[in-house]
Symmetry: C2
Subunit: 335 residues, 2 copies
Amino acid sequence: MRHRLKDVAEKAGVSVKTVSNVVNGYQHVRPTTRARVEEAIAELNYRPNLSARNLRKGRTGVIALAVPELDIPYFAELARHVVVAAAEQGWTVLIDQTGGSREQERVAASGIGDHLIDGLIFSPLALTAEDLTGLDGTPTVLLGERVDHGPADHVMIDNVAAAREITTHLAGLGRRRIAAIGSQRTVEGASARLRLAGYRAALTDAGLGYDERLVAPAPVWHRADGAAAMRDLLASGVRPDAVFCFNDTLALGALRVLHEHGLRAPDDVAVAGFDDIEDGRFSIPTLSTIAPDKERIGRLAVELLVGRIEGDREAPPRTVTAPYRLELRESTLGR
Amino acid sequence: MRHRLKDVAEKAGVSVKTVSNVVNGYQHVRPTTRARVEEAIAELNYRPNLSARNLRKGRTGVIALAVPELDIPYFAELARHVVVAAAEQGWTVLIDQTGGSREQERVAASGIGDHLIDGLIFSPLALTAEDLTGLDGTPTVLLGERVDHGPADHVMIDNVAAAREITTHLAGLGRRRIAAIGSQRTVEGASARLRLAGYRAALTDAGLGYDERLVAPAPVWHRADGAAAMRDLLASGVRPDAVFCFNDTLALGALRVLHEHGLRAPDDVAVAGFDDIEDGRFSIPTLSTIAPDKERIGRLAVELLVGRIEGDREAPPRTVTAPYRLELRESTLGR
DNA sequence: CCGACTTTGTACAACGTTGTAGGCAACGTT
DNA sequence: AACGTTGCCTACAACGTTGTACAAAGTCGG
């Protein structure tokens, strides 16, 4: 059976509030009393009832992390960092999968488990800025590029610069026909738009023309979509000598298809990705990529959110930019 | 601002309890009253406070899933299935990462967020049966092979049979020097022991001798460990012509090292894994593996847990076995 | 040894919800 | 007309905790 403050109080011969004071580490409890209470707590294996505490305090100590899909490695890795950063500050993280659908995302945004959470770290795909303004005021931090000047705090990396940098790397290898995989025409495709912009800027920098036939769309960014896009590129006869994929899973799918066609990376086609997921360090060949500082992103998101929860909720939204690194491996450099 | 039952009640001109009755769908509320209340609810955008409801009802509607690491794809995929299965029955899932350490696992087991959760689905690595008996009686379902006859419900697949089957497949290809990667001598290594047993049984079936030098240990089962183990095997000069890796990430690491050594899979060394993670369908070569029915496992775990929460908590522990499939791909069959 | 102040502890109310008990109409039955 | 029955609704208490107000005990300076 679970025990309550009352049980501990009776056992220690003090009032309920005194036990509460001990549990919460208040001063003004005589050491002898404190010891007696602590003994009773240990003996009964007392644990506070969080629902009651939350009801009283108006806080739950739980924040939610909403991501499109956990089995996209990037989000799984990010989740780990968020959980760790939150735990350091005594917060529990509830992880929610939205599947990337607008409906699910709206449900998540408007209060997973309703009053269960104090704040939300949210990596939206489909949601628009307007969807977010309708929130009841749950403190929210956005990850990624979806909403440019939304009503919430925001952690991002400079997608345009990163995409430009890695495309420039491809051009620097002497590649002239650099393809891109992952473009999207939908509203959801904010990241895609930014990365495409970086890609185009790099082409201009390198004095290369922009050829629309070298840009392959991918509705979502799974391995299978990268594979399909690469197949289309090869079938269309445009013969790229390099491909910049807008994320790593796309790139892994593309590598697979190149292999199926008997083409070698990077000899025939250099391949670069974006995200630096674990797989890319062991793929054949290993994958050159943009490595966002995920640990930093997770930590910043938690800091912003906790600041919002405990501080001024009406302060203007802040946008924080996290650093990234160029991680060059075999898929562009060879062995 | 958030509204309470009381606000709705005042607006609708009824008592607080009547609003509660409407919210909970009780009968004996006149349609006209119900309509008036519902209108007020909509107008105020009322959401029940779960902490208060939980306090009153003694239930939170939240179950936790504790896994070692989310960025091990197997667990991420499993998590998705658990979340989906739970959502279908109206339960929210809180995902917790234990990191596989005994200490963290014990914390998780003894009540993540204390009274916040009604039950726990738990995939332990390091915890022993005794650790679990100490629980306060939070309904728990175990996943995986750790605790054979522990005090809790259990969902598993037949590891011995599966390992035997895939090893037999390797032998059936005519391979004579079949190595194994992933053995563990620690208490944590229950899965490792079972899979090793299946491997040995298959060797016997095939009339092959057991050669200890062909069995490489791996303290944890990440890609890097598979790579290290494969390197050791090659360096030791035992030259296997096949490897059964105890999970897919180990196998991907092994494939990588074979490639670095200029060996081809499956021509020189056939490679098989275990878990059927997404990566294995796009790796080069694609990976032959044991495919546990993860969707089924997730669903069974939720069903067992909910049954435990809502039903008889004292019933004897049940063990349920989920099916698996042999998924043969290029790493053993070639193209 | 007294008054003022500090320390230590207590009683009570409140957080928002739901279960229990019961009240008041309206109805049909004797 | 008196009665029990049913349908609809309300008042109250309780879940376990903590903030507020205050009482009791201890300490200190004069």
